[in-house]
Symmetry: C2
């Protein structure tokens, strides 16, 4: 991605070339229809001045019309839930959906970020620090006009609260899948390892998950199909993104 | 900041309202000059069709003209140097300068980031991890079209190299101020504390600073005034930002 600019010189040159072409056309039409050169030149001359003035007022008038104007406020959409709850799947779909809507969006995913920073620990302190850093990152992206889709177990209320404070529009989506279901699914075989003590401090088994008390949205993946859950999220996001319509 | 959009409906309505207004004007001009209603309507009718076709080809033609088109590639401008070298001062000026140029820019500063994450340690491992995380953050901002101005002591070549790899356009500015001068300046009284053992692992005193071997720019603040140093940086940045002119 890049920032594109058109210099003032380019805009001026383009304006002049269009006005010349447009007015010449008018004059030629008049000449062809009447055969009168003087009339053609007169119409063209008046047109140049008239159109420039008109165009200006046309622009100003449209400036006051709200129809079709949208202001999209970026936001941080934060998925939290147990391992295997379906966070990443739903976050990925959400990310793709926002891309399709043509908006700036960045995805932050627990697993992907950890692969860049393999030394991040799993103890409470480490986890909290990690989530706070991610939250800072998310808030900077949001501030720079990028919608963020984040999916992190983020088991502690404290660090989720910190992230909420950092962001302007923090939308917490609690993927509320019961532990039994998550353990049954066990997509990466991690619950099995946690049960057999190959992994320690595993959220849900031997580390706590503090459920969000007032998430902006709660999704129950055990009562709904993935598509149904995602539709709930889509409606929620559509509602949020259209809230700011027609504000200037 | 927000994302503004104009809906297709708005663009269509605006196009129609302009074409109606413009063509009516032409017809009225012709009518006033000739008093012939049929001629005025004929000119107007032909004009509508002719202008729509012409406008399209005018746009296509300008699409092929490079004049005045600029592509600005975002970049990560990374200031490294000893404590007290003048990094933050120069970074702040750089940040303000880029804002004035009307570009998207975010500032990341060692002191400010540490105030958010006070638990970040000063040992080699901690420092490297810290810088790598900042580098990841910077690269995400860059990827999302934001120029980043970062100022961090970043004493280890390893983590600076990691950041360079993460970013697309990494511009390393080495603020090359001799240790004696930095210690003399000691803006925050930290050298004094380091000498009296109130602070440990202080870069330059009891922790190493690995000088960049091939920075994109080296600034010698002991041989130049702040303004002179900043002018060097300005020229460097201007050169970089104009490099990509007229590329589509």
């Amino acid at each position: 991605m890049s920032m594109y600019f058109e210099s003032k010189g380019r805009s001026a040159a383009k304006t002049i070339s269009w006005r010349t072409l447009a007015t010449l056309t008018t004059a030629i039409i008049v000449y062809i229809l009447t055969g009168e050169l003087v009339l053609a030149i007169a119409v063209g001359s008046i047109e140049v001045i008239a159109k420039i003035i008109l165009y200006f007022f046309h622009e100003r008038a449209w400036n006051k019309i709200k129809f079709g104007k949208r202001m999209i406020q970026p936001c941080v959409i934060w998925f939290t839930g147990l391992p295997g709850s379906g966070k990443s799947t739903l976050a990925e779909k959400t990310y793709q959906y926002i891309i399709e809507r043509g908006l700036h969006v960045e995805q932050l995913d627990g697993d992907k970020v950890r692969s860049i920073f393999p030394n991040t620990g799993f103890l409470k302190e480490d986890r909290n620090e990690h989530i706070k850093r991610i939250g800072y990152l998310a808030s900077l992206l949001e501030k720079n006009n990028v919608i963020v889709v984040a999916s992190f177990i983020s088991p502690y209320a404290e660090s989720r609260h910190f992230v909420r404070q950092q962001c302007i529009n923090f939308l917490e989506i609690f993927v509320d899948t019961p532990l039994e279901i998550c353990e049954q699914r066990d997509p990466k075989g991690l619950y099995k390892k946690a049960r057999s003590d190959d992994i320690n401090d595993f959220t849900g088994i031997d580390a706590p998950y503090e459920k969000p008390k007032n998430p902006e949205l709660r999704v129950k993946t055990n009562e709904q199909s993935v598509e149904e859950s995602f539709n709930t999220i889509k409606t929620f996001i559509d509602h949020h993104l259209s809230q700011h319509n027609a504000q200037t």
